[in-house]
């Protein structure tokens, strides 16, 4: 019970985001330009894009999980700075020595989608690590709730037959799905 109360926000988040994703709720993306300014720092030719992106994010005080595209032949590097509430797209032009920061406007289905998909231990940042650990906690909790629920049901003799009917029906439908579709 206490575990369920603690993890209630995650479970509500996963339930709502699953509904949004199952119904392919549209995710309109509109960006607001936060900054568009000169960027005087230079990079040695052949600098790996991730190193360039790391330096740019540090200079902009935007360090955190990111992916990077480019540089394109005309010198544009695009950094996608992940963010649960406000992801940012940062464009650096080596030719013009400028950097522009565009922030995605907060919108419900996009937020739910990002929340549902955020996982894994690939990023070296504390918040990402905390999220991955919380995802593992939800995994353990779901299996624990299932098994402890089975045990509590078995302890209530009055519910055994109806419970067995529900469990057998659910298991039968699930197995039929797995084997046939």
């Amino acid at each position: 019970m206490y575990l369920a109360l603690f993890l209630a926000p995650w479970m509500i988040g996963y339930a709502l985001s699953t509904l949004a994703m199952n119904h392919r709720m549209p995710r309109p993306t509109s960006y607001i330009t936060e900054r568009d300014e000169p960027y005087p720092n230079e990079f040695e030719p052949g600098t790996p894009p991730r190193e360039m992106a790391l330096q740019i994010l540090a200079d902009l005080d935007l360090v955190g999980a990111f992916s990077v595209q480019g540089p394109t032949p005309d010198g544009f590097l695009t950094i996608n700075r992940q963010g649960m509430l406000s992801p940012r797209r940062i464009t650096y032009s080596s030719r013009h020595r400028r950097v522009a920061v565009h922030r995605m406007e907060l919108e419900t289905s996009g937020f739910l989608n990002r929340f549902h998909r955020r996982r894994g231990y690939q990023q070296p940042y504390a918040a990402d690590l905390a999220m991955a650990i919380s995802v593992d906690a939800v995994i353990v909790a779901m299996v624990f709730w299932a098994l402890s629920g089975l045990w509590m049901w078995w302890e209530m003799r009055a519910t055994r037959w109806w419970g067995l009917a529900c469990a057998a029906t659910g298991a039968g439908i699930f197995i039929a799905f797995v084997l046939t579709i």
Binding site: P9, W10, A15, N22, H23, V138, V143, L150, L179
Partner: protein, 192 residues
């Protein structure tokens, strides 16, 4: 029969009915949260000469997907996306052994492949399958169950909170658990 009795029984029987889905969504999150660097192996089933016009907009790709499915002799639901300007991919989800079709426009080739059963992609495939736009009847029925599980999760939380409130001796620790969870959740969301 009191309201509290109905809530307890609904909590229990819904949980027993949806138990396989709850375990599946929990266990199948493991390969997603702990990703393997090794890609899944696909076995080539065949190759066909194929040519069809490809619409510019990715929103109009589904008729092309149907043509690719028919050319490969595959029945059922499918998803489709344009990998790059020279390649379109169709996937026919099957929990145990899914099929994928790759159409290489310039070479006018359609390659049909099947993924042999493998535990990790089997689990993650169950986790990610959903949506009413696949075109297959049973795909839509599966999507209905995904919705039912989602609504079930919300109802279990609501009925769980109701049942917790009915046990006054657990309120203090319950408030602490609920509050701590909300603070941790809000902190992670705000800093990610």
């Amino acid at each position: 029969m009191t309201f509290a009795h109905v809530v307890r029984r609904a909590h229990l029987y819904a949980g027993l009915f949806l138990l396989p889905w709850v375990i599946m969504f929990g266990v199948s999150t493991i390969p997603i949260n702990h990703q393997s660097p090794e890609p899944a192996d696909w076995v080539r089933l065949g190759e066909h000469t194929f040519e069809a016009p490809v619409p510019e907009s990715s929103e109009n790709l589904r008729p092309l997907g149907r043509q690719m499915m028919d050319a490969a002799g595959v029945q059922g639901g499918y998803w489709i996306y344009r990998v790059n300007p020279r390649q379109v991919q169709v996937g026919h989800p099957d929990f145990l052994t899914p099929v994928r079709l790759n159409y290489f426009l310039e070479e006018r080739r359609l390659i049909v492949e099947r993924r042999p059963f493998s535990l990790r992609p089997f689990l993650s495939g169950m986790h990610t399958r959903g949506g009413y736009d696949m075109g297959g009847f049973w795909d839509s029925v599966w999507a209905v169950f995904v919705d039912i599980v989602s609504v079930g999760l919300i109802l279990w939380i609501a009925s769980g909170v109701y049942m917790w409130w009915g046990i006054p001796s657990t309120r203090r620790w319950g408030w602490m658990a609920l509050g701590a969870g909300m603070i941790c959740f809000a902190t992670i969301i705000a800093t990610l």
